[in-house]
Symmetry: C2
DNA sequence: CAGAATCCAAGGGGATACTG
DNA sequence: CAGTATCCCCTTGGATTCTG
């Protein structure tokens, strides 16, 4: 007898939904570009190719581990390309691929919205905070 | 004598950069909408207002804690609005604000890019994985 | 210079139980 | 119904060290 229908069904639905979310292209993209270092790397490379060490200087807050991890994953996704020059001190360049370039307009629209509406958000936030914790 | 210039300056730069990133509107927006539950809530409410319990059914994977946290933060940012009806069993509706609606085109562009290019990403990924770990 | 490997602390997020 | 509060796990990401 299936007594635990409520909990069971909820659990199943949750599992399915999570699977669906994982499969959802939009969510995949969002989780890619929303990554702090991913977006910053994209912006950094939008201005042209950069070397590994240049990137560490462009993004002073990034650790080597995170930089390596970030460029590797972006390379894997075909968003940036890696070029190793076999010189004496190895030299590696990273640049956006054509696919990566198509991402720039998207980033730009996000940037536009942010710059246009962030003030409204701040205001709403102040108002909300004032309204809830009114110390009067 | 300032001996530790290298490490010190790196550290300072990192701190400043992190502060800059935190202040950056684009990054603020990205971290908002990239949140798994935020984006899903936005999509859910794009189709019209929903009650608290409806949202839990629309997003079966979400916990009550996360739903509350998500709607509260979106309300604070002026992106969604909360309306409590003082009926016997309390009834609360959530809907997008005009500001929240302006976010939909942005979400749509993200969705478009994802649906148009996700295949290329998958291919690149397969190629990359095949090229690196070639079991020959 | 470019990167791999290890260690470890902080916090995001889920499950559960309780409340008005 | 619409939350709130607590516990706890497990991932994320930084610091450090080592290598080709």
């Amino acid at each position: 007898m299936t007594t635990r229908t409520a909990a069971q069904r909820r659990e199943l639905a949750a599992i399915e939904y999570n699977a669906f979310v994982r499969e959802c292209p939009t969510h995949k993209l969002l989780s890619r570009i929303s990554d702090k270092w991913v977006s910053l790397t994209l912006v950094a490379l939008a201005g042209g190719p950069q070397r590994y060490s240049e990137l560490t200087r462009t993004m002073p807050g990034i650790s080597e581990k995170m930089l390596t991890q970030t460029v590797r994953s972006l390379e894997r996704d075909g968003i940036i390309a890696r070029t190793a020059h076999a010189s004496v001190p190895v030299r590696v360049d990273y640049r956006l691929t054509p696919l990566g370039e198509t991402l720039l307009p998207v980033m730009r629209q996000i940037k536009d919205w942010a710059e246009r509406h962030i003030d409204e958000v701040e205001e709403a936030r102040d108002y909300f905070d004032g309204a809830t914790s009114d110390s009067a």
